[in-house]
């Protein structure tokens, strides 16, 4: 190991010697970096998104593989009524397609409700509902999560300590996400709730429904963001007309400077209200049920609405030259790169939480099959899709959906790897043949 490291170090030293510089144990590319400041800035933004996406996926994969609660599907959501355990491919096909269409219909309805509300400026209700949704995830789902984690680790824990811990955990999360807090803390909480939502989806959705849903959601994302009459595009344009920013609390942001810019504070509450309003409409229908699992269904439904609605939101425009810093809105499934200000690193990249959730769902579902080759290839496929999307964003400079390319790559690679590559590699490693 030392030799390999020194070899690399020495290679760089030799190169720097050849270039007539002072030898340093550093990157020799500083010369080129000066000339390609923009390229390096762009790649820094990509890495700033690689890291949280990877952490979220790693978290989901490790929980799926160790905690059996999330990898077993016994109950189902009321939104996926067709879930017979059968091996008939035709039956599986139509059932999963119908389930996925139902969920997609929900997402579309919620998005339209959201846009109507946003146009009618009903901000406060949306903000209140957003608070309720994150309370649900941070307290209720976290309680369940910690409970099953402790039972997997076989640790004894009393309710009083658990109550105190979850209370603190949830409250700090609320403050960090919706109000002010250290950026790292906010990012950690956002990753945690995305991972938790992904786990809930993996638990409650039948297997083939998950795949069909992923494909349909990415098609919807593409249509909604790019079509001229697409709802998410209209949302973004309305936000731009009003010079407001959209939903900053459900977006993963790599910098805090965005939040502290003046015009961001006020509209933030307005957009939160919109989201809550849209989710409110869906909750009223299932308030009559009781029982812990039913409540979990409800909670999952509400979260699903929240996640789906956010998932249905638009991508965001890239840097608009000459606009105010917050003129371009932000959405859950969009990306935002400040291409113009290469010297202004305070504007970071934003990625919607819906993207985190769906990437983690894909990788988590791939890993629940037990084959780690598949998981690895899906992970790399998603990363490559994400970098391609960011590259397109840098070129296109407009609102782009983050889901389609990554999900397409991920799904293709999942099926190809699990069906073709894995048997080949297993045959090789069983006999220790290396290629």
């Amino acid at each position: 190991a030392a030799r390999a490291q020194s070899e690399a170090v020495n290679q760089q030293q030799q190169q720097s010697e050849a270039e007539g510089e002072q030898p340093r144990v550093e990157d020799v590319d500083d010369e080129e970096e000066d000339a390609d400041k923009l390229l390096l800035y762009g790649s820094k933004q990509i890495i700033r998104l690689f890291v949280p996406v990877s952490i979220c996926m790693l978290f989901v994969v490790s929980i799926i593989s160790t905690v059996s609660y999330y990898s077993s599907t016994q109950q189902y959501l009321p939104y996926t009524p067709f879930h017979d355990q059968t091996d008939d491919p035709g039956k599986i096909a139509w059932q999963s397609i119908l389930n996925a269409l139902i969920i997609l219909g929900l997402v579309i309805v919620m998005t339209i409700v959201l846009i109507v509300l946003y146009k009618l400026r009903c901000y406060k209700v949306i903000q209140g509902w957003l608070y309720v949704t994150s309370v649900l995830i941070l307290f209720f789902f976290s309680l369940i999560f910690f409970g099953v984690l402790l039972s997997t680790l076989n640790l004894a824990f009393d309710y009083i300590t658990m109550a105190v811990c979850v209370w603190n955990f949830g409250l700090v999360g609320q403050v960090a996400i919706h109000w002010k807090g250290p950026l790292l803390l906010q990012q950690m909480y956002l990753i945690f709730i995305s991972a938790l939502m992904a786990l809930v989806f993996i638990k409650f959705l039948p297997e083939w429904t998950t795949w069909v849903l992923l494909v349909l959601i990415s098609i919807w994302d593409l249509v909604a963001v790019l079509c001229p009459k697409g709802p998410l595009r209209m949302l973004v344009e309305t936000a731009q007309e009003r010079n407001e920013s959209l939903f900053p609390s459900l977006i993963y942001s790599t910098t805090a400077a965005y939040m502290s810019v003046g015009t961001a504070e006020q509209p933030q509450q307005q957009q939160q209200q919109q989201q809550q309003q849209q989710q409110d409409g869906n909750v009223s229908s299932d308030l009559d049920e009781s029982g812990s699992h039913q409540q979990q269904h409800q909670a999952a439904a509400q979260v699903l609405n929240g996640g789906g609605g956010d998932g249905g939101e638009a991508g965001v425009s890239g840097g608009h030259d000459g606009d105010g810093p917050d003129a371009a809105g932000a959405g859950s499934n969009g990306l935002r790169v400040r291409n113009k200000a290469f010297h202004d690193e305070s504007h970071g990249v934003k990625l919607g939480l819906g993207d985190f959730v769906f990437y983690s769902i894909l990788v988590g579902r791939a890993s629940s099959a037990g084959d780690w080759n598949t998981t690895l290839s899906c992970y790399f496929a998603i990363l490559i899709g994400l970098s391609l999307t960011l590259l397109l964003l840098a070129i296109g400079r407009r609102a782009l959906p983050a889901l389609p390319i990554s999900i397409t790559f991920g799904v293709i690679f999942y099926f190809l790897t699990s069906l073709i590559v894995s048997p080949f590699v297993d045959a090789l490693t069983a006999q220790q043949f290396f290629i």
Binding site: D34, D321, T429
Partner: protein
């Protein structure tokens, strides 16, 4: 499932084997790649390309049904695909570099339009058209805005006139090293990761009735192949760049040799596995010397640096 105390033993084996295979790659990643975001992206890209080559060879294995049991055929096909993808990656990176440079220059041009025009006129002095003057002005604007060391006239002329070699985004040698790391990591990962997952279960030695050195042999061979991939990629890239294609014979020959020797790995005896391990080690050493020679590294300095800390080397150079 609950974890009994005996899980500690298997976890030890798990960490041991994984670190045998991957710790050199991990260290190389941490110290040379992790601080440069562009390198991380290229690493991901190259890992993905290796995955593509594996996919292609699996398709061939899957398609040729009668030869599915004869893994030699598919192994040779896979090696050919890997080498082809390695060469293809070289051309891909070259093409991508040009494309990204165009993007960078276009960004500079658009930035320049809103900033000093006079500076661009002075800088270019009538060379090229509007685009190139935009590039030059943009470069000047970038350096002034960034506050970095000013671009020399030579650099400006390079960017503006479009003559001479364009400024490289990443030096070819570090690029090939990073690509090799990506290839090697993926190759090792695909051969080890399922094994490691099985190891961390309830029991591990001789998983399916194999000899007790099974895991060790696999881990060591994975380690060898990670390192070999780095050497092969460096040699390949430098060969194609300098058009000295005869060194490719080393790459192809040693890849085939090391890979086909692993056919000796049988479940009967661990001693036979020493042959592929030793041969791979020799090929790796030869590869190391060859790549150092090709990148024109100072061999004496390299071996001294193995035993001397960095500060001492800096002192020695003064």
């Amino acid at each position: 499932s609950s974890q009994p105390a005996s899980a500690a033993m298997t976890l030890l084996e798990f960490f041991g084997c994984s670190l045998i295979s991957f710790s050199p790659a991990l260290i190389m990643f941490i110290f040379t790649v992790a601080n440069n975001p562009l390198k991380i992206i290229i690493l991901t890209c190259s890992a993905f390309f290796w995955l593509l080559s594996l996919l292609l060879s699996s398709i061939v294995w899957f398609a040729v049904v009668p030869l599915r049991k004869q893994l030699v055929f598919s192994m040779v096909v896979s090696i050919l695909f890997q080498e082809a993808i390695r060469i293809a990656f070289y051309f891909f990176i070259k093409r991508a570099e040009e494309g990204l440079q165009k993007i960078a220059l276009a960004e500079d041009a658009s930035a320049e339009e809103t900033s000093q025009q006079s500076m661009s006129d002075n800088a270019t002095g009538g060379s090229g058209g509007g685009g190139s003057s935009g590039g030059g002005g943009g470069a000047a604007a970038a350096s002034s805005a960034g506050g970095s060391e000013p671009l020399t006239d030579a650099d400006q002329v390079t960017l503006t006139a479009g003559t001479g070699r364009p400024v490289k985004i990443l030096h070819l040698h570090s690029l090939s090293y990073v690509c090799g790391l990506g290839f090697g990591f993926m190759a090792g990962a695909f051969s080890m990761v399922n094994l490691l997952a099985d190891i961390s279960g309830p029991g591990s030695v001789g998983l399916g009735g194999e000899h007790e050195g099974f895991l060790l042999v696999s881990s060591v061979l994975a380690l060898m192949f990670v390192f070999l991939n780095i050497c092969w990629t460096v040699v390949t890239f430098v060969c194609i760049e300098d058009r000295r294609l005869y060194f490719l014979a080393y790459v192809w020959g040693s890849h085939l040799l090391c890979s086909l020797l692993t056919l000796l790995n049988s479940s009967a005896s661990p001693l036979l596995s020493l042959v592929p391990i030793m041969v791979s080690l020799t090929c790796a050493l030869i590869g190391l010397l060859l790549s150092l020679h090709l990148v024109e590294a100072n061999l004496a300095g390299f071996f001294t640096s193995l035993v001397s800390p960095a500060w001492m080397l800096r002192v020695c150079r003064r």
